[in-house]
Amino acid sequence: MEKFTVKDYKSKIKPVWCPGCGDYGVLNSLYKALEKLQLPPHKTAVMSGIGCSSRLPGYMGTYGFNGIHGRVLPLASGAKMANPENTVIAVGGDGDGFSIGGGHIMHAARKNIDITYIVMDNSIYGLTKGQASPTTPLGITTKTTIYGNVGTTFNPIRTLIAYKASFVARIFSANIKHSTDIIAKAIAHKGFSFVEVLSPCVTFRGKEQYDYFREKSFIIPDSYDPSNEVKAFDYANDEDTLELGIIYKKSRPTYDEALEEVRIKAKNDGVPSKLGLLNNFEV
């Protein structure tokens, strides 16, 4: 049986990200995770919205779709539900996901659509050259917060837990080994898996962002039990530390399993020929 290596997951073009951008680490971790899982590139689709981070699909040797800003989850949900045999990975940024795309996460999560959603969170709008995002810390000055940001930050992990996502994790792009492991677990998870990546924007948040993430983050000890949503919610308060690893995980039926049930029920009512459907209009 054919064996896939990292290069099978690479496309012909090179990233245009700034030197030092955190997204390089995410890309490499994703390559490695796919290799680890030995997923056939032709049965894998990596889809995105718009942003620096959303350029990632262009660097994949799998099927890829660089869609529109904020709509990657419906796009990916459509692709997955239309053909559940595909492995579908949605990627994007904090602006793409938490600002303009914020309305879609809760529904992909509660329906438990079997896709993986990787958000490269640099707490800034990179592609548009440095405006505040929902995760930009208070007080930070950006192109749109000249006098300091006054918008309290959005807490992705706590929110995803409240949304009943069945797999919620956080990684740091600089730690490729750990990131590879978690991304692989997320993809392997049956159901909606969410991975927030601390992925620095060296250009608009400065190299300091690496130090900031390094200081604040730590890898979750094995002793931690991710199966209780209240404990997980408590754990994920964003005031002091940033936990790295699987913060919450609880399995339940996926949406494709549920819709298969629906099809069975529908068929049990009888399956006429397409022309036979005319009977429904008889008087």
Partner: protein, 591 residues
Amino acid sequence: MSRNNIVIGIAGSGGDGIITAGDLLMKSASKDGLFVFMLKSYGPQIRGGESSIKLRMSQNPVATQGDKLDILVVLNWKDFPRFKLELLLEDEVVIISDSADKFPEEDIPIDKNKMKKWYKIPIAKIAKEASGTTQSKNIVMLGIISELFNLPKETLKKSIKKKFDRKGQKVVDTNINAINAGQNYVINSLEKIDDLVFEYKKNDPRIVMDGNEAIAYGAVYAGLEYFAGYPITPSSEIMQWIAKFLPKYGGTVMQMEDELASINAVIGASFAGKKSMTATSGAGISLMNEGIGLASMTELPAVIVNVQRGGPSTGLPTKTEQADLMQAIWGSHGDSPRVVLAPADVEDCFDTTILAFYIAEKYQMPVIILSDGFIGHRKESINPERIKSKKSGFKKINRRQTPNEEELKDYKRFKYTKTGISPIAYPGIKGGEHQTAGIEHDEYGFPSSDVDIHHKMTFKRYAKYDAIKKEFDFKRFYGDEDAEIGIIAWGSTKGAVKEAVKKAQENGIKIHAIIPQIIYPFLTKSFKEFLKKKKKVIVVEMAYSGPFVRYLRGFVDFGKYNVKIYPYRIPGGAPFTVEEILEQITEVVKK
């Protein structure tokens, strides 16, 4: 005077069972093979509000629900005024009402001389006596009018049985008693003061559909595999029908969180290789403009149904209008090609939907079906044989072209071709891995901001229009080709125009009508043929801003053909009457 073509209106309060009565009448007439149209109308309440139906039955083919009522039935006078525009009256109209229902003289908008033939009947009382409840007064009423005007009687009882069967024999009996009581009342205690009698020959039973059902069925028939949508009046029934039947064939239906999600889910499913569709209206279509542009750019097949309603904004959700035409063509930012089709009646909703999938899959672009609330909710009796016979008649309902061995060696998803069509690979096809993007891209699909490439790709995306213009021609014409007076309309306006043309011809006016089904791209060649002999052309549309006439003039230099245009553009709300179109024709003739 005996007639084989009759228009009936019924109005009443929530509890009166107006809609049920209308449905039963519609079904019985269809069972007898008549041509039947029915429109329903409601007040603002979701429940318990007043409602009315308008129904036309005819021995011979007809194209509209008819302008004015030959028969008006009112179960509750206080509800009538709201429907005065839906229920216009013939001078010779026969009125039937409940003698117990006090008539509020002043505020009823009917002029005296139309009240000459008026039956006041104790409908509720008869019901109470016959079935122990006044609830069945709508059925008693059916008994009365079926007997009084010789409407289908046997089939009416059959329909009643069929309808109440699952509620048990007792309920069936109550209703049969009710209808008998109504009929007996006419036979024994009523003296006919009018000479209106409906006479017809039975024919093969017809089926009953509305436009939304016809679109839903057409889609499933065309091989729909994935549907994503969000409810909105007056389009919701499309998703509801598909949600019931598509799963039987292994298809997928998803109610999304909004229309942005719906259109993007549809594009994602199309990317995955499936025949995909969404349906919406009003505000929903405005929200899809961005996504439709993405489908244009990624050259992915997608069928988008817009059942137009009154606008702007939330507007008139339950009323019809044709003001979304220009938006369908130009609604997305950038040069964003798409195809726009318009069905003209219920059966045409079925045909148009199948054509939409054919074009979307073959030409790899979004196809918008512009229906409207009028045909979307209008019930028509249809000859099932015609739908069966179409089976072969339709263009092969094909799938998008996929790349062959050779092409997969160095696969270019967006390869430049003469027709602009390049084979699509989708996940699962080995060697077809590629990037698709809403950002401008090269033949492989990789992002590019190169100006040359943008020009070439724009030409590629628009080249498809030339191919489409070659493949199709206008087909729907009425009247005499060599007339100097022409009339052009689109969509649900067809019915009124078709009958007006017939009447005009009867009045000795030479006139020629065209109702395009393919609206955009504009089939210029075909249309110039139409213009050849014309000197005057009336453009009819239900939109005050005149999108249709602006659109036509934008693509056809009428002046060059020495054709003078007479736009007839009015805001929406109520369907056109045959009479008002005929008036336009007669006036233009004089000019």
